[in-house]
Amino acid sequence: MSAIEPTSGTTTAPGIGGARIGVITFPGTLDDRDAARAVRLAGGEAVSLWHADASLHDVDAVVLPGGFSYGDYLRAGAISRFAPAMAAVVDAAKGGMPVLGICNGFQVLTEAHLLPGSMVKNDHLHFVCREQSLIVENARTAWTNEFRRGQQITIPLKNQDGQFVADERTLDELEGEGRVVFRYDGWNPNGSRRDIAGISNDRGNVVGLMPHPEHAVEAGFGPASAEGPRSGVDGLTFFTSVLSSLVHA
């Protein structure tokens, strides 16, 4: 893999404790470059990681980006879960390292049993791509601590297998323990149980969600907001949150 190119007009901020955020690329990953760019825009150092490499190269946190790893042929995320890098991610996550799974990355986290439940095909069977409104339900996780509980945010959503399912007992547990991190607002775009868009593990260091924060990090390239078309940068807060959680760790 070639090194990640610098984004024009931005540089890696050396501060924030020199936090290094790894972004894993699997065969079929689409959004690794966007995730790395989001890390840099938030002020962190993005480290490109390869699925076949069992080492995480001493990163401080890991992002599993979106895409269609291994074509989603068996089940979304099912084959990636057994990649050498994932064994290292599972170990690190159990030790408390912040891990964010976005879309396909969320599916990989459920297949790896770092998060409960699973994703099946959208209830309406269509691929959906839209600017999605969400409510932040838990602002204490490693990836959401700079949001407010109850805050409404808008970030892009794009998926085919995005319907979050789990048995009732698991859903009750998630609700009771405050582990529902995001809920769809206004319209449930895929039939997810209880409008759940994202969840965390009990420690709050592992978060997975279907919508894409990394596509809403720079004015001019994000969703519409009160400031005008394409001005939304709500996704950036995920990445500044993890940097601040690493500083205060």
């Binding site: 099946v120 048995d167 039939g191």
Partner: protein, 95 residues
């Protein structure tokens, strides 16, 4: 050469959007007899030699770990293709 057939179905409590789409299409072709459809997966695992009990045990383990996700799916059968009726030749089963 032997073959193990593994069949995986969505759990009964999981809505099966694909099956729902198929059941919606059937009446449009005049098939009004069918009130429900569930769509699953069939895997055919080939081995160089005979299908031994050890091979079947390995197939069961593969079915539970990789071929299915127990959160949303059940493994409904793991069997030697030669012992599945009408399958020995690999020919389609006729009525």
């Amino acid at each position: 050469m032997g073959r193990v057939v593994v069949e995986v179905m969505p759990k009964p409590e999981i809505l099966d959007p694909q099956g729902k789409a198929v059941v919606g299409a059937l009446p449009r072709l005049g098939f009004t007899q069918f009130s429900g459809v569930r769509q699953g997966k069939r895997f055919e695992l080939e081995v160089d030699g005979e299908v031994t009990p050890e091979i079947l045990a390995a197939a069961r383990e593969a079915a539970a770990t990789l071929l299915s996700n127990p959160v949303i799916e059940d493994v409904v059968s793991v069997a030697d293709a030669a012992e599945v009726s009408g399958e020995a030749s690999g020919a389609p089963v006729s009525a």
